[in-house]
């Protein structure tokens, strides 16, 4: 009891010392009272203001294929003088992957210290880290991004932004409540100049009302998609890999090295072509069109060639938007001939390359609308450009170059198209209530 009282007096002395000079309150010993009371002084440090001359310190969560590619890219961008980034933390639930990423970081030229983490929550406790790049599988994105934002970190989220659209809408709310955070979705084609030009022309009314658009992401392989992700015989759940942490929000699942290496092929973990590939083309097109939320979505296709893959290898989507526009989207991992990306307007049509944009009048408006071609500046690799723009935005506190608001609208398409593929129904989405329903 005496020790307890002594501890309590010590606590009070600390309070009084702080109060000295400001002549403020003293907390009375008797009121703090009994031994069952508990006190803990102090607050932990948090990321604070840094000068623009200092490197931006980031952590990478998920050091598989994409995470490792990002760390190499940042080192390359540092060498080229386009970024000044230190990747001071690497996090993965798999020790061999973590150490391989550390080795890759050293090989890529990192001459600074970095730390390993197997729990992303521990990484977020490191107050020196300003930003985190989330390259874990998509079923983890919403939870990790939410915690990172609340912990005061700027965030780059790999695509797809989330696995399900409900998570995307919740994340959108979190981002809206934290306007001070720079949160970027890794759909890098938004940096292509042709889409910015298209957005401007549409906003200026140059093509009249945009009524119909199309895009695609199609590729082909002899053996099947995503099989190039190797299965490592070193992986041992419970020894050097925390499988339960990997499945996380999806609940406990039986260990499967096939799923772990190639989750994009499996329905529970991925929307396949739609979330992994088509988001790249749908996102910039929706950005350019600015036609609001999708309101009706239906998809068809199937397992036409790659019968071993659980997710589909051919997907065709029809999307209707709230501001009276329809988009068709084709995705394939069984044939590489896609659709030309274009926007059809009442007065003219836009043909979008990556840099080049061509405006051609509708026949009935040929006298009034002049055909024009816009050649955008060669800005280099779009993924590098998005990385650079994220870091620039962290420094300048400028707007996100690939915002979560747009990402949430895209995720409604991705998730509802995927549901449509699986159950054969069309889906409606109510933009006012932000609720989906099966039709």
């Amino acid at each position: 009891m005496n020790d307890d009282r002594s501890d309590r007096r010590d606590f009070l002395k600390k309070s009084a010392a702080l109060a000295a000079g400001t002549a403020l309150a003293t907390l009375d010993a008797e009121s703090i009272g009994a031994s069952e009371l508990w006190a803990r002084p102090g607050t932990a440090p948090r990321p604070g203001a840094r000068t623009s001359a200092e490197p931006v310190r980031i952590g990478i969560i998920g050091t598989g294929g994409m995470g490792t590619e990002h760390l190499r890219a940042f080192q390359r961008l540092n060498s080229a003088g386009r970024t000044d980034v230190q990747i001071v933390a690497l996090c993965d639930v798999c020790r061999p992957r973590l150490e391989a990423a550390g080795h890759a970081l050293r090989e890529a030229g990192a001459r600074y210290d970095f730390r390993y983490f197997t729990d992303y929550r521990e990484l977020l406790r490191d107050a020196s880290i300003q930003g985190v790049l989330i390259a874990a599988p998509e079923h983890w994105h919403a939870a990790m991004a939410t915690l990172a934002i609340r912990a005061g970190r700027d965030v780059y989220i790999e695509k797809p932004m989330t696995l399900r659209h409900e998570d995307a809408l919740r994340l959108r709310d979190v981002v809206a409540a934290h306007p001070e955070r720079i949160v970027v979705v890794g759909t890098q084609y938004v940096t292509y100049p042709s889409y910015a030009d298209a957005k401007r022309l549409i906003a200026e009314g140059k093509i009249g009302k945009p009524v119909f658009s199309q895009t695609s992401y199609c590729r082909n392989s002899k053996d099947g998609e995503w099989l190039y992700y190797e299965i490592d015989p070193q992986w041992q759940p419970g020894v050097n890999l925390d499988w339960n942490a990997w499945t996380g929000p999806l609940g406990r699942q039986p260990w499967s090295p096939e799923v772990y290496a190639r989750w994009r092929r499996f329905r529970k973990y991925s929307t396949g072509i739609i979330g992994d590939l088509l988001v790249h083309r749908i996102t910039p097109l929706m950005m350019a069109l600015d036609v609001g939320w999708p309101i009706r979505i239906v998809a068809s296709g199937g397992h036409y060639v790659d019968k071993a893959m659980e997710n589909h290898d051919q997907v065709n989507i029809n999307i209707e938007f709230e501001n009276e526009h329809t988009m068709i989207v084709a995705g394939s991992t069984a044939n590489e001939v896609g659709l030309e990306t274009m926007i059809r307007g009442h007065r003219a049509n836009l043909y979008l390359g990556d840099r080049r944009l061509t405006l051609r009048p509708e026949r009935i408006y040929a006298e009034e609308v002049e055909e024009q071609t816009f050649e955008g500046e060669d800005l280099g690799d779009p993924q590098d450009l998005l990385r650079v723009r994220w870091i620039d935005a962290i420094r300048t506190r400028g707007p996100s170059p690939s915002p979560v608001d747009l990402g949430a609208q895209v995720m409604v398409v991705v998730d509802l198209a995927s549901r449509s593929m699986w159950d054969g129904h069309a889906y409606a989405f109510d933009p006012r209530r932000l609720k989906a329903r099966r039709i």
Binding site: F11, K14, S15, A16, L18, A19, A20, G21, T22, A23, L24, A25, T26, L27, D28, E30, S31, I32, G33, A34, E36, L37, W38, A39, R40, P41, G42, T43, A44, R46, P47, G48, A49, R50, Q130, R150, A151, G152, D154, A176, A177, H178, P179, E180, R181, I394, R397
Partner: protein, 236 residues
């Protein structure tokens, strides 16, 4: 907020105590105008150009700040002289907009109370019924009663003869202007005489705002609700 926060609560509630301290850290980071990536810096940078959507808790904080600014005739002013009309709050959209690019806000006079309120809300949500929270001993929030069953006793200053108050579900805020502090009246930009003010009332955020206002005013204004107790020492 540049100060130490402490919580006193039953040992069984230690885990939620950690969460409450994390909540205080969270608000410290967001409301710190000296951090380039804080919410306040974001508003100071962008809220003049267009309305900025803010979360409900921050909206409520700004609402309290503007209410006290008006009720105290500008003696408490987060815009440092711009007055309550320098900010436009849009409740349906939950946005704030600054009237001009010259407007800057500093929530230093109210942030501690807000952080304590947020931490107390978290404690209450987890079933804690007894706790004493303070930031730098100048902002104090009592949840329920002390273990003795009476209010939490707090002396209004370090002097042996300082008045002692008992707080039960009440907030206390003390503001002092001693020789080295040089507190300025935001209305006249003139120095405030040396005095100490204590305000006791139902919420810590409003208590912080009023204690600053009363430090400047030197006496209790008509606009202060009768539910609030005030204590003055020094020049009046």
């Amino acid at each position: 907020m540049g100060t130490r926060f402490e919580l006193v609560l039953p040992a069984a509630d230690a885990a939620v105590g950690e969460a409450a301290l994390a909540e205080i850290e969270y608000w410290h980071a967001r409301l710190n105008r000296f951090a380039a990536d804080s919410l306040v810096s974001h508003l100071n940078r962008f809220a003049a150009a267009a309305p900025v959507r803010i979360d409900a808790a921050t909206f409520a904080l700004l609402r309290v700040a503007l209410d006290v600014c008006r009720a105290s005739d500008g003696a408490f002013d987060i815009t440092l002289g711009g007055g309550a009309d320098a900010l436009e709050l849009d409740e349906p959209r939950s946005t704030v907009r600054f009237q001009s690019a010259a407007v800057r806000i500093d929530l230093g006079g109210i942030a501690k109370g807000h952080a304590l309120e947020q931490a107390a809300a978290l404690l209450r949500a987890h079933g804690t019924t007894q706790a004493l929270l303070h930031g730098g001993t100048s902002s104090v929030l009592a949840l329920g009663s002390a273990p003795s069953g009476d209010g939490w006793k707090v002396a209004l200053g370090p002097e042996p003869d300082a008045p002692v108050v008992a707080l039960q579900d009440r907030a206390l805020s003390l503001s002092a202007n001693v020789a080295r502090d040089h507190v300025l009246d935001p209305r006249a930009r003139s120095e405030v005489p040396a005095r100490t003010v204590a305000v006791i009332g139902p919420d810590a955020c409003r208590a912080d705002a009023w204690s600053t206002a009363l430090l400047v005013l030197g006496s209790r204004p008509a606009g202060l609700d009768v539910a609030w107790q005030t204590h003055f020492r020094g020049a009046q």
